[in-house]
Chain length 428, copies 3
């Protein structure tokens, strides 16, 4: 018999987590505008409210059914691929969705829809200050509407990644289960965004003034560090829901363990990035501390439910150090990523996924192999798809604003308005 | 037998929703200061902290007993009208408050108290930059303390609107129930604030410089679009509680459906306002996108629990379009509403209420009639009451600051301080 | 038999409260930067992300085991004092932690860890704009890692304060229990921070320009009142978790009563500070309103679960008035507390603790005696410890930045960056 009260509790927890993941869009907005120049603020805010809005609608129309089809063609292409008629929720949304007592399909849909928009948000920061708004919007629609749910279906929809290590007997029956493991999406969400960010940054080119003719790298500071800091703290809060909700129930032992590992990895990531950058650059660097926190969060995401306290601290610490190194590496590769999205979401996303093969004690070293296969398959697909989309946009409508528009700022040129139109210094 | 655990779950959910509605006051504060000039920022922030504080105290002293009296004099004036002795909660706050397993009276009180302050907050934005603080405070006390709970009692307190369509047999027994439907307050909260905003804006007159002698309309831009955007995203989050809590239990099917319709209407409203304004003004207008989101949220509020996914998207889409048209209309009527409160809360509040008669499948077209009656009764009462209050204030203490004070800004004149007193441009 | 579903509900509520207490660190950050000068913004943000990060790690490594040891040496020094090996959670974190159905140790740990960092955050505001970052970090590590958990163990760990009034029979068996009462930490958290703030402010000396040679007091205005206001509203929200979670279960009657008393004390405190400052200074003072809200919140914290509605309003009202008087007193004592931390956390912390002896109806006037003993013991210990730590730092590495660094701002000197590096006035 179903425990109705437990069903209700699970549903309450999942709704709260949904709300927290929604709030991450405020976190991303504030972080991105904080780390970029004032003249492109409206443009970034516009992109972010567009992403969450179109993301929800697209996930209703195609994403949800594409990602959780139950059946597959050859285990790769979900066979509801052309079911474009939107939500088809049985029994008034009340059917049990998952194990541990379940919760409603409505909640399941909304929680997953909030995730879907995240991938495009990651790209938004990386292409800031120079990408054409229209092209970004088209990219978002395709990436959120198709690429993200297809990749998601490989694992969370029961596709080939989730059954990589299954063993069968002579009758074709599964006798032991094993496979790629990605608890809340270090790979399936963060690196999906991160790979596209890498391709976009490469195809777009750097902002004017970033890489100088003499080979030196110009610093292009952001305009509002309080916004950036608030953004990171709000993202951390949002991760309570992002990871805590990925338990897919209110199971007390699992959810609370996940919150502990998540918070410790964040703390450890921040401290590590701060210490490494203090050692490397002799400065108490707030930006590095902030990106270190995010790196720790992304790093723990793949295995938040299977790590011990000390595992979480180590994973976060490595992630924080990787942030400092990766930010420098991206610069040295002449890639211009204004907010550090590649370091945070791609590098730490890959690290977190591999870490499950090292610390997770799941299937021994075979697990490490499954993790590598997951990283490589998702990476290959995302690289190909994002290259195809962005290259096509580049050859047709164009992806980069004019040099004049870039110098004047996208706010005035694309939106006809300043972010702080009436701001003035105190005369009193 | 009461299920104590279910009672506890309901109570947890309702406390969370209470917290989220509380947070809406931060959302309103940021939205209002973002869309107005810097020189009136302190004034708006002061009004908002005053409203939530006085609102809570007034609702304790009179509002709660006035709104949920249980008995009525003639179904219109609650008969606890003169019981000013405050909360009278039976059995230590633990009595079941509502159906579906109940929750505590303490929670019920606090959730409703958070709603009460909202009506005045709506007016705050519309009268920004020119209304005398003292007069606004007196208006708030009367409107939150008396007008809002009386109107609320007509429907949520079991008054005449809630029983409009009841049919009785020859013995006077109710044999079928029907009536006005307003799930979470498109009319009872939002248009209650919206009607007062309309009257206040009309009696106050426009800000200096808004309507020029040559008939043209001057743009008076706000001072901080990041704050406005953050405010809207926080309001959207708050609506998880505003609508989700209006289920008055943690019923999983209903609460999660409500969150889905709420979010889809918000998304659809934003996209619609963006597209209509792009078509009309050829610009990617962030302000319109933001107000479109709010319009979608207000529009779905009356029927969030009875709409399908496609209904919600349509209701939001219409609301978003109405925002663009109504903002232009208000301007053309020479009404000066700095934040678009009339378009958002009044126009979309009326739209959302009527939409229940179109999409809600409640009592057929008779329902549409009940909705019209509700809109008209509440509108008439609010227009009369707010006219009486504001006109009286205008003829006595005055409602408008001097032209000098308006030009200098209310912050210096009424509060002796700037919002950003030490702000300076980077010299390094 | 344990009710597993109730266990799950308790755990959900406690996880939410944990998230809300986490968010208080954003509230403190925004409040502190809002009330201080722009040139020290990065420094304050850095301190705040450092505190939450190091606080979590330290609480893992020593704090949790130090504070909740179960056994004591002489009731004062917890006997796990030297157990530095971190979390030692039995049975996979699933053991019942407390009464009323329990929740997991993981949640218990994380909730308490979020509290631990708060004490240092309070100090951060008081020493803003002139304390050396390195010295502040060392102070934080010692205070959060050792002083806070030792004091906490005296009451919440079952130490001597919690059993002050126990009566025993001739066989040494406890026959009636009574003792110091501090529900959520007016003394154990807020005044622990407040006493250290007092010592630090005294040993540091005032900021240049605060107290002039002619005896007048210079106003040093902050740089961003919207941030300060947002910070206070976020702190108020956080207090839903700070006090609501201190019930240590989702018990519906207790949690919802606590939210009601908490919100009414906040509202009442704000209104009181506004009215007293209007009377005293003839101005609608937003800063006083904000600090009055915080004063009301700190004041209710010691007895939020044992107060009536009218008690809460009175306690908040007194706290609000105390804020106005205490801010003036601190100034007159030539102590320079940029954010009013001493008035808010120390004065109102003491007031709230004593108020439990007046309103709480616990153990008659004997209770008042226990409260005084609690205030005095904690105060004495914190004064001695913070004096020892800060004085030692002062005599060795120094605690105050150079006059040059203070005038240039700590952002450039310690962090090599401005808070708003690209900010510019609108040229369009």
């Amino acid at each position: 018999m179903m425990d109705n009260t437990l069903f209700t509790v699970n549903n309450v927890w999942m709704m709260i987590c949904t709300a927290l993941v929604f709030l991450m869009h405020l976190g991303f907005s504030l972080l991105e505008i904080g780390l970029t120049r004032q003249k492109n603020t409206i443009n970034i805010l516009f992109k972010n409210v567009f992403i969450i809005s179109i993301g929800l609608v697209l996930y209703t129309v195609i994403g949800f059914n594409l990602m959780y089809p139950g059946t597959f063609v050859a285990g790769v292409i979900p066979d509801y691929f052309f079911d474009l008629f939107g939500l088809n929720i049985p029994e008034d949304g009340l059917t049990i969705a998952y194990a541990d007592g379940g919760y409603t399909y409505w909640t399941d849909f909304l929680f997953q829809a909030m995730f879907a928009a995240t991938a495009a948000t990651i790209v938004s920061g990386a292409v800031a200050e120079r990408m054409k708004l229209g092209s970004f919007m088209i990219f978002t629609i395709i990436y959120v509407g198709l690429v993200y749910p297809i990749v998601g279906s490989w694992q969370w929809g029961g596709g080939f990644l989730s059954t990589l290590g299954n063993e069968m007997n002579e009758f074709g029956e599964v006798i032991s289960e094993a496979g790629f493991y990605d608890f809340a999406g270090s790979t399936l969400v963060h690196s999906v965004g991160g790979w596209a960010a890498l391709v976009a940054v490469w195809l777009l080119g750097a902002r004017i003034g970033k890489f100088k003719k003499d080979g030196s790298i110009g610093a292009i500071p952001g305009h509002n560090m309080p916004f950036a800091t608030a953004g990171v703290l709000i993202l951390w809060l949002g991760w309570f829901g992002f990871n805590g909700g990925s338990v897919l129930s209110a199971n007390p032992g699992k959810t609370s363990l996940v919150l502990v590992t998540t918070c410790l990895a964040a703390a450890s990531g921040g401290l590590s990035a701060f210490l490494v950058s203090l050692f490397k650059y002799k400065q108490y660097d707030l930006s590095m501390f902030l990106n270190g926190i995010l790196g720790g969060l992304v790093g723990i995401t793949a295995g938040a439910d299977v790590m011990s306290v000390s595992d979480a601290i180590v994973i976060g610490f490595v992630a924080g150090a990787l942030i400092v190194l990766a930010v420098a590496l991206v610069d040295n590769l002449k890639l211009d990523d204004p907010v550090g999205a590649i370091a945070v979401h791609l590098v730490c996303g890959v690290w977190g996924t591999l870490a499950v093969g090292i610390f997770g004690k799941l299937a021994g070293w075979a697990q490490f192999g499954y993790q590598v296969i997951g990283v490589v398959s998702v990476g290959t697909f995302c690289l190909i798809m994002s290259y195809a989309i962005i290259k096509t946009l580049k050859s047709t409508v164009g992806i980069r604003v004019s040099a004049y528009e870039e110098q004047e700022g996208l706010d005035i040129e694309e939106h006809g308005m300043d972010a702080y139109p009436d701001f003035r210094l105190n005369q009193h």
